[in-house]
């Protein structure tokens, strides 16, 4: 049996056991032919790694599954293609059953395996970037070039802020998400206008310099 199947069986146990080795050990109790006892420490080490490495595997697995569920998200009141806001709202909703375990999970992801640097921002950035990319793709975003990156960067920033807000104030998370996305949209359009204006200015100066005969 592939270990990923055990990982999938462990994910529903996160609600009750948190992102812990215990959840991984108890995954075998959910098999079609369940085991009598949870896996031993040696077995969990063998399949998922030592100490917090196993917990990181479980956290990454849970995040991957939540991202997969974004694809099949449905909002009853909305018909037709979903907006980025609806998709991100459904993603925030999937955090709710495990909200009490998420702060520790994110802290663990940000803790480096070796002592330095004291805080590793990359896992957090990868997490919000993947969600933003997935949400834009599902919503049918057709941006190209720099606009593609800008769109995803602003959506990632908005989602990251909303998710952090949800950890402390879950009831107002969705309103915060809506405000954050509006602000991100304004930032996005401002940057694109500045970029357009900047291009005009640059072309103007290029034309003036060419016509002045300074260049050979």
């Amino acid at each position: 049996m592939p270990r990923n199947q055990l990982l999938r069986l462990a994910i529903p146990l996160v609600r009750t056991h948190g992102f812990s080795r215990e959840a991984l050990a108890r995954s075998v109790l959910s098999l079609p032919v369940p085991h009598q006892q949870p896996l031993s420490d040696a077995a969990v080490l063998s399949l998922f790694g030592q100490g917090d490495d196993a917990r990181r595997v479980l956290i990454e697995g849970w995040l991957d599954q939540a991202r997969e569920e974004m694809k099949i998200a449905q909002v009853p009141a909305v018909q037709g293609p979903l907006s980025v806001r609806d998709i991100l709202a459904s993603r925030l909703k999937s955090n709710e059953p495990v909200l009490q375990h998420l702060p520790e999970a994110f802290a663990l992801l940000a803790s480096p395996a070796s002592g330095l640097p004291p805080l590793d921002p990359l896992p957090g950035l990868k997490h919000v970037s993947k969600i933003a990319d997935e949400a834009c793709y599902i919503a049918g975003d057709v941006s190209v070039g720099p606009a593609w990156f800008r769109r995803r960067a602003t959506v990632a920033a908005a989602y990251g802020a909303a998710e952090l807000h949800q950890l402390t104030s879950p009831n107002t998370a969705y309103e915060f998400l809506a405000h954050a996305l509006n602000a991100a949209q304004k930032v996005d359009s401002t940057i694109s206008e500045v970029e357009l204006f900047g291009r005009y200015v640059w072309r103007s100066w290029a034309g003036i310099i060419k016509s002045s005969g300074v260049l050979p």
């Binding site: 049996m1 592939p2 009598q36 031993s40 420490d41 040696a42 077995a43 063998s46």
Partner: protein, 317 residues
């Protein structure tokens, strides 16, 4: 005194005349010309006019049915000085590897375990398991069955355990059996929580058969763990390691044990063992669930000292 391989004629089967060139004294091996081959699962091949199955015995090719007796001969010869030679050859590093190996198993952490240590004649791993369970978790119920095909090695292990508190207790038992075919009456299926084999599997004729038996005797949820010499990827370290293995080790065998050929075999057998990914695949093919097919965290194996030794694990689900 120590018997050299050439003095083992009474133990060699009737085809001794065919074997004697292979086991003659002063094996000259130029390790620089040795081409490591991609070994098949059991290392066995069909060859010869009559389609007889052959396998490797170090760098030599021998009939499959004779490998067992040849290996038995090697270990009969080295048994009494095995621990001393391990210390001399690895400069004591084998102790660190074995400590790491047993530490990963955490025996006794979640209650007593039934362990089986195969090819564990002198009891190194068994003693570490029992000591670890006792010292770290105050567990005096964990038990280890030490299994070896070689009676001489088991005698050495028995002698060592007589000096410990585990002698004459249910925590330790010594059993002579072939790892490829352990009798079901003595080793029932779905019995053990942990199966360990340290520096022994490369001496077996058919590795898939050993893995199959390991799968059979383990309980669902049981862990298979194998510590074995393996392939070194780093070319500089590999060169130094080759020089040390083929020049120094057989010389130490001559000086300390008076038996160069046996230690030459031990060194050659390391080179014939499958590389880490291949062995991990064999473990998965035997039915075990392993970590991801890479080295290190969450992987199917962990290299020690750059791959000089490697710990492979799997779980019976």
């Amino acid at each position: 005194m120590h018997r050299s391989l050439s003095q083992l004629r009474p133990l060699v089967p009737k085809t001794a005349s065919r074997l004697s060139p292979l086991v003659s004294a002063a094996v000259r091996h130029n390790h620089q010309n040795a081409q490591p081959t991609t070994s098949s699962g059991s290392g066995s091949n069909l060859s010869g006019d009559h389609g007889a199955r052959t396998t490797h015995f170090g760098f030599k090719t021998v009939p499959e049915e004779e490998k067992e007796s040849l290996v038995r001969g090697v270990f009969d010869s080295v048994a009494s000085s095995y621990d001393l030679m391990n210390d001399a050859m690895s400069l004591g590093v084998h102790r660190l590897w074995k400590d790491d190996f047993v530490a990963r198993l955490k025996p006794g952490a979640r209650g007593p375990l039934r362990c089986i240590d195969v090819a564990g004649g002198t009891g190194d791993i068994a003693l570490r398991i029992l000591d670890s369970a006792r010292e770290k978790y105050a567990d005096r119920e964990t038990s280890v069955d030490v299994v070896d095909i070689n009676g001489e090695m088991l005698k050495e292990g028995y002698k060592r355990f007589k000096k410990t508190m585990y002698h004459n207790t249910p925590q330790i038992a010594f059993k002579e059996a072939n790892a490829q075919a352990m009798p079901e009456s003595e080793f029932p299926s779905n019995t053990y929580d942990v199966y360990t084999i340290a520096f022994g599997i490369r001496n077996c004729t058919s590795i898939p058969d050993v893995l199959k038996e390991a799968y059979r005797v383990l309980k669902p949820g049981g862990t298979f763990a194998c510590l074995e010499f393996s392939r070194v990827d780093n070319p500089l370290l590999g060169t130094l390691y080759d020089q040390y293995s083929f020049s120094i080790l057989p010389l130490l065998g001559t000086i300390l044990a008076g038996d160069r050929e046996s230690y030459q075999y031990l060194v050659e057998s390391i080179r014939k063992f499958p590389p880490q990914p291949e062995f991990a695949k064999m473990i998965a093919d035997a039915g075990f669930t392993t970590g991801a097919m890479h080295e290190g965290k969450g992987g199917a194996w962990t290299d020690l000292w750059g791959g000089i030794a490697s710990i492979h694990t799997g779980v019976k689900i």
